[in-house]
């Protein structure tokens, strides 16, 4: 928490002042010049638009993929489930940086570098295989009788997923949507590698070029950082009650 307060405080400092001899939590004079410059210089508006575009496509797609796959895993033959779960666990353990080079080679082969596609592509993985597994566990925890009742009523797996299973795991969906959004919104590494066209820069990337423009002009890029942080924090704060406090009911 203290770092966040400092972030806001730093972003409100008047740019170009000599370093203050004493630490101040509330800057004097208070100034929003940092924000104005950040928006002018960094193309942050354009970048925000790109970020929003990526999030609007990738987040719903990712949640959709994860919940469909997680549901299917509870219904297919146990042996197939075991294989997919094991593969997901392995995929989970591979650090993202370890896949940079080969993924880049593949996207380049497909001619998709310098587009937003590689930034959306991880949605096919549910952003993280972890989320598929979380959905799998949530769907598996529903009473087996409910699924049997759906079979007796001749519901196809797709309709069982949509009409019964999904409505019953709404808190999971809320939490995972928030996490997916935060990860997608914050994604820095992928844009760094795949996007060179300034017009396609997402917010994290624009933020970096803003900081490279004048590395000592802290209020400006801190203001940019605040702009990039606020949406993630808001979404996160809205959803965090679900996974921090869901079990706060009195026990026993």
């Amino acid at each position: 928490m203290p770092p966040l307060l400092l972030l806001v405080s730093g972003s409100l400092t008047e740019p170009g002042l000599p370093p203050s001899p004493t630490p101040q939590l509330v800057p004097d004079p208070l100034s929003t010049t940092g924000y104005e410059r950040a928006l002018d210089l960094g193309g942050l508006l354009r970048a925000s638009l790109n970020s929003v575009l990526v999030a609007v496509v990738a987040v719903p797609l990712s949640v959709l993929v994860a919940s469909l796959a997680g549901f299917a895993l509870t219904r297919i033959a146990p042996r197939a489930t075991a294989v997919v779960v094991a593969a997901s666990l392995v995929a989970l353990m591979v650090p993202a940086t370890a896949l940079l080079v080969p993924r880049f080679a593949i996207f380049r082969l497909l001619g998709l570098t310098d587009t937003l596609v590689p930034l959306i592509a991880p949605a096919l993985l549910g952003t993280s295989p972890l989320y598929v597994l979380v959905y799998y566990l949530a769907f598996r925890a529903l009473p087996a009788d409910l699924y049997d009742a759906c079979l007796v009523e001749d519901l196809s797996p797709l309709r069982t997923w949509w009409r019964v299973a999904l409505p019953l795991v709404r808190p999971v969906t809320a939490g995972l949507t928030a996490l997916t959004f935060v990860l997608t919104w914050s994604n820095f590494l992928d844009p760094l590698i795949y996007v060179y066209d300034r017009d396609l820069f997402t917010l994290p990337l624009a933020l970096r070029s803003l900081s490279l423009l004048d590395p000592t002009n802290f209020p400006v890029f801190l203001a940019g950082a605040v702009i990039a942080t606020v949406p993630a924090l808001v979404v996160f704060a809205l959803a965090q009650r679900r996974f921090l406090h869901h079990d706060d009911r009195p026990e026993g």
Binding site: M1, P3, L4, L6, L7, P19, S20, P21, T22, P23, A66, L68, A69, R75, I76, V84, V90, A91, M93, V94, P95, A96, T97, A98, L99, L100, V101, P102, A105, I106, R108, A121, P122, L124, L125, G126, P129, V132, S156, P157, L158, S186, F188, L189, P204, L207, S211, P215, T216, F218, L222, A225, A228, T229, L233, F236, A237, L244, H245, G252
Partner: protein
């Protein structure tokens, strides 16, 4: 009357039990396909491509040429790679236990319901939600020797830019040891996920065990040492291994944005940064792939450790 002659063997039918009809099978295959495409296309195939690239020289412009084990031999000789490997291992050995301990402390402190606990939990979690790059830029400022609030604080009460004890404040980004410490410090605040898992684990512990301990008049330390710690040990071990693997990745942005791999001699060049620079700045993709392979081997080693831990604790709990 009995149709046992025509019926398929029991095993085959029993396995089909969860998806008995053709419509279900078709639907389920459809539902699983996008994820399988992602899993194969974004993880499995790239991992295989890494294997392939690691035995070639490749700069993206000309087609790859066969290199055999040259890349690996070169890695062994490469002082930068050795430093990066060492840095990554040291980071995992120092930062990971600290992160897990901090998360454990917070989880134990905040698992009860009380006034302000909710806010405190949120506060502990929020830095994890800050975009990596914004977080990196923040620390770039915090660590700045002149403008940065950290050194302003350290200088408070002192004169002529010295601390109150009359010493020079740390030159965070130019002194190798301070820079490494700085990166570790940065990583401590983002242990939110570990914290959430430990919080859930602590809350899942049986309450009667603690009531029993209270009846026996056990001290807080005894309760921690004899009850909480042993019961949470499996989770802690798993989180530590997971964190160690993840640390290969989450050292990238701090090293990239805050210290740029420096100060010399490559004090904060970690494997992830090494791979990035080798591939995307020096365009030596084959060489980068070979380094990636080493990284994956480290991961595999960590996964094996995790596997053994799970097995051991399973046995431990069955006895």
């Amino acid at each position: 009357m009995s149709a046992s002659g025509e019926a398929p063997p029991a095993r085959a039918r029993a396995r089909a039990a969860r998806s008995p009809d053709r419509r279900s099978r078709r639907h389920l295959a459809l539902m699983l396909t996008p994820y399988l495409v992602g899993l194969v296309g974004l993880v499995l195939v790239p991992a295989l491509v890494t294997l392939g690239l690691s035995v070639t020289h490749y700069d993206l412009l000309r087609p790859p040429t066969w290199a055999g084990l040259d890349n690996f031999a070169a890695l062994l000789e490469d002082p930068i790679f050795r430093v990066a490997l060492l840095n990554s291992v040291v980071f995992a050995l120092v930062a990971v236990p600290l992160r897990v301990l901090l998360a454990l402390g917070l989880a134990l402190l905040l698992h009860r319901r009380a006034r302000g606990v909710g806010t405190a939990r949120t506060a502990a979690l929020l830095p994890t939600a800050v975009p990596e790059i914004a977080y990196g830029l923040l620390w770039l400022w915090l660590f700045n020797p002149l403008y940065g609030p950290i050194n302003q604080l350290l200088r408070a009460g002192g004169e002529h830019g010295l601390t109150a004890l009359g010493r020079t404040p740390p030159q965070w980004l130019t002194d190798p040891t301070s820079a490494r410490a700085g990166i570790i410090l940065m990583s401590l605040f983002t242990m939110g996920e570990t914290f959430v898992v430990l919080l859930a684990a602590r809350r899942a512990l049986p309450r009667d065990v603690y009531e029993m301990a209270a009846i026996e008049d056990a001290t807080g330390w005894d309760v921690f040492r004899r009850i909480t710690l042993p019961l949470m040990a499996p989770v802690l071990a798993l989180l530590a291994v997971r964190d160690a693997v993840a640390s290969l990745h989450f050292t990238f942005v701090p090293a990239f944005v805050v210290t740029d791999g420096g100060p010399p001699p490559y004090a904060t060049t970690y494997l992830s940064l090494f791979v990035y620079q080798t591939g995307f700045e020096y365009l030596r993709y084959g060489y980068a792939a070979a380094a990636t392979l080493v990284m994956m081997l480290l991961t595999v080693a960590a996964v094996l450790v995790q596997w053994r831990l799970i097995r051991r604790y399973r046995r431990f709990f069955q006895v």
